[in-house]
């Protein structure tokens, strides 16, 4: 007995209008309704960070928000950052500094870090590690990711 509701959700500047059950997670709306499969799903309980998106600018877990709650809010996913051939400075730095191996964690990390670098132009390694604490990576051992974030920060500062 759960009424499907019509929602319009703005993702990366485009509106997606769909009928959905209230229990549909925003992560599943993004992947299955909007077809934006860059956002990954790992644990569905907030721990791994693979599903991190930006909601009104703030990095949040899309697996812990219901799609119906996102109506009227601005959602941005990894697809908003850049594209093959025109990677953002942050994405390019991940490529150059070996900030990924399998890439499963990468979209969530990029969305977390994109917000972090907007507020921290010249972060210490310690601050970067703290910012990454909510994103799990099973491949890299994190060193490449930390290097990539520091490299991106340097490039963004023009240093």
């Amino acid at each position: 007995m759960t009424r499907p509701l019509q929602v319009t959700i703005r993702i990366n500047g485009s509106d997606y209008t769909r009928e959905v059950e209230p229990r549909l997670l925003l992560s599943d709306f993004i992947r299955h309704e909007a077809g934006l499969t860059g956002t990954h799903v790992g644990c569905e309980h907030g721990v791994c960070g693979a599903c991190t998106i930006r909601l009104d600018g703030a990095p949040v877990r899309s697996c812990l928000v219901f799609a119906v709650q996102a109506q009227g809010h601005d959602v941005r996913t990894v697809e908003s950052l850049g594209e093959p051939g025109s990677l953002s400075v942050l994405q390019q730095a991940f490529r150059d500094a070996h900030g990924l191996q399998c890439g499963y964690c990468t979209p969530g990390i990029l969305m977390t870090v994109s917000a972090f670098l907007e507020e921290n132009a010249d972060p210490s390694e310690e601050a970067v590690r703290h910012a990454l604490s909510g994103n799990l990576c099973r491949c890299t051992g994190y060193q490449g990711i930390v290097d990539a974030v520091l490299l991106a920060a340097r490039r963004m500062r023009g240093a």
């Binding site: 759960t2 209230p22 229990r23 997670l25 309980h45 877990r61 812990l64």
Partner: protein
């Protein structure tokens, strides 16, 4: 996993939210930041038939009183409290402890009201509320009442909230002049729940004598655990190193940790003594 089906209501006012909760009773849950409730629903540990979403009712204000008190709306998100200049000035232990609560992505969404209503004994904020002598304002369609933090937490994940009540606001009384506070915890990894955490609040008079102390711990028993005997032992002393050591030893005896996959009760008890001693030292320096 995916949550079981439910009906979703997103009222625009507290009054409507309370009417819905009164109508549906235990079958309905309030949805605040969703950072504890939605994981439980995804695992189907929790299967509410109705969700009353509080994200449109307001209750987000953080108001600094002219007397140094602070009133925080239940729907204020962690991140807003963490960045609130007034809060950092009047009750710096909030900022200090919030940095240890989960990760930035969780703090962007989680609310103080949701956290306290969830009443996880391993959680930081309930212990901080005990140490700050917080008063919680509960409201239902029947009316309003205020309870002290000490009376709000009644067991693991269990509070004094009635089925039709919401936590509306949290009031933190002003800290007296020459009061120092500190939060310290030990967790396996940054952002994890602490194996032990201690809040210390110490007030001194102009001569340096201790005129008030409050100590509370997380992961130390079925609820956030105050250590009233340890605190009372400090009052009247000059807060020498030996006085602090004795109080820390009393904390070690007063806590009642139950153990977790990460730490045995004996290790948690050991940590309580160690961290209490360090937190008291920090609070003493800050009370100068």
């Amino acid at each position: 996993m995916k949550p079981a089906p439910f009906d979703w209501h997103a009222p625009d006012s507290v009054a409507e939210a309370l009417a819905l909760k009164a109508q549906h009773g235990e079958a309905a849950r309030f949805l605040a930041g969703g950072q504890s409730l939605v994981p439980a629903m995804n695992f189907r540990v929790s299967q509410p038939a109705v969700l009353v979403d509080l994200n449109r009712v307001g209750l987000e204000a953080i108001e600094a009183g002219t007397d140094g008190s602070l009133t925080i709306g239940a729907m204020a998100r962690y991140v807003a409290i963490e960045r609130h200049a007034g809060a950092a000035g009047s009750h710096p232990i909030l900022t200090e402890a919030l940095r240890e609560v989960a990760h930035p992505q969780i703090r962007n969404r989680g609310t103080l009201g949701g956290n306290l209503s969830h009443a996880d004994p391993a959680s930081e904020m309930p212990a901080v509320m005990l140490a700050l002598n917080a008063r919680l304002r509960l409201r239902s369609a029947r009316g309003m009442r205020e309870v002290a933090a000490a009376d709000f937490f009644v067991g693991p994940l269990t509070t004094a909230l009635a089925a039709d009540e919401m936590l509306e606001a949290i009031h933190l009384p002003a800290l007296p002049a020459r009061t120092g506070t500190a939060w310290l915890e030990i967790a396996r990894r940054r952002g994890d729940y602490a194996m032990m955490g201690v809040a210390a609040v110490i007030s001194r008079d102009a001569a340096g004598r201790c005129i008030g102390a409050r100590i509370a711990c997380c992961s130390a028993g079925p609820t956030p655990m105050a250590a009233p005997l340890a605190a009372a032992a400090l009052v009247g002393t000059m807060l020498s190193d030996a006085d602090l050591d004795a109080a820390a030893e009393a904390v070690r005896k007063e806590v009642a940790p139950t153990g977790s996959v990460q730490a045995s009760p004996a290790y948690q008890r050991h940590l309580a003594g160690v961290i209490a001693q360090r937190a008291l030292l920090m609070a003493r320096e800050r009370a100068a």
